[in-house]
Symmetry: C2
Subunit: 140 residues, 2 copies
DNA sequence: TATTGTTATACTCTATAACTATA
DNA sequence: TATAGTTATAGAGTATAACAATA
């Protein structure tokens, strides 16, 4: 049976993405973290003091949807907030957040390595350029 | 500001996918169809008589989640069912389904072309192989 | 025993509108 | 006027458990 979808980049992109994210979420279960939460923690690690809105813009998460995400992580003691002016709050990792991220990051990294490992070595250097181009393209 | 995520294939995959699917869904709005529904209709076009369960397996949609999808499209007169044995039903496009798919497919195709168009010509031949490899890899 | 279609359910993700308080 | 954080809400997508009818 011929599959009419296997030659469509967009469809492959979707299937590859959902499969990869489902796998990653499964590996992150022991930490009780989802992939988007880890991405957020990683962003905080390199950009301490960033505001909730700015983080949402970088991660493509709506302001409104950042609220429960940050609240959840703050409640668990992984993230702290500090007022910078009357309406903004700088976000930072707590020590517990840093230590949790350290372990979660190892899971992410092995997951990323496994993703790359099965791409034929010849194609491997093309993975980042191709994905980056596809990402930018879809902005239009 | 350095972004700790831009060099992670899995993260790029996710961002590229959600952006592309959001764009496609927007373009499909006039047809009142979502990308997964079009994928299903395309599968029916090449595999008439396929059962709901089999289609779900190919599309990675759970049996239970196929129920409302098929019911919705049947209710709109795009899909018809025909019993093949006591428990299975073969699914087919109706004439209306075929004609809707014809137009929706044009949207999908231009969307796919736009996706490819912004990938540098040198990398373009790598897109399908890379995505296919990434997909297979995440199965593990 | 295994499979098909189904119901019910729950959780996550995403999107929009509107409010407040500040800038 | 525009922005940050928030609330409320709705629509998708996804996942699991269970059941009846059938193979």
């Amino acid at each position: 049976m011929k599959d009419p979808l296997r030659h469509l980049p967009g469809y492959l992109l979707k299937r590859a993405s959902t499969a990869a994210m489902a796998g990653l979420n499964r590996k992150l279960e022991p930490f009780n973290l989802r992939h988007a939460e880890v991405a957020f923690l990683m962003l905080l690690a390199t950009t301490p003091g960033i505001t909730q809105s700015a983080a949402g813009r970088l991660l493509d998460i709506q302001r409104a949807n950042m609220v429960p995400l940050v609240a959840r992580l703050q409640k668990r003691g992984l993230v702290s907030r500090q007022r910078v002016d009357g309406r903004s709050q700088g976000l930072m990792l707590t020590p517990a957040g840093r230590s949790t991220l350290l372990r979660a990051r190892r899971v992410v990294e092995t997951s990323e390595e496994e993703l790359l490992a099965r791409v034929p070595a010849r194609l491997r250097p093309m993975v980042l350029p191709v994905l980056t181009a596809l990402w930018k393209s879809s902005t239009a």
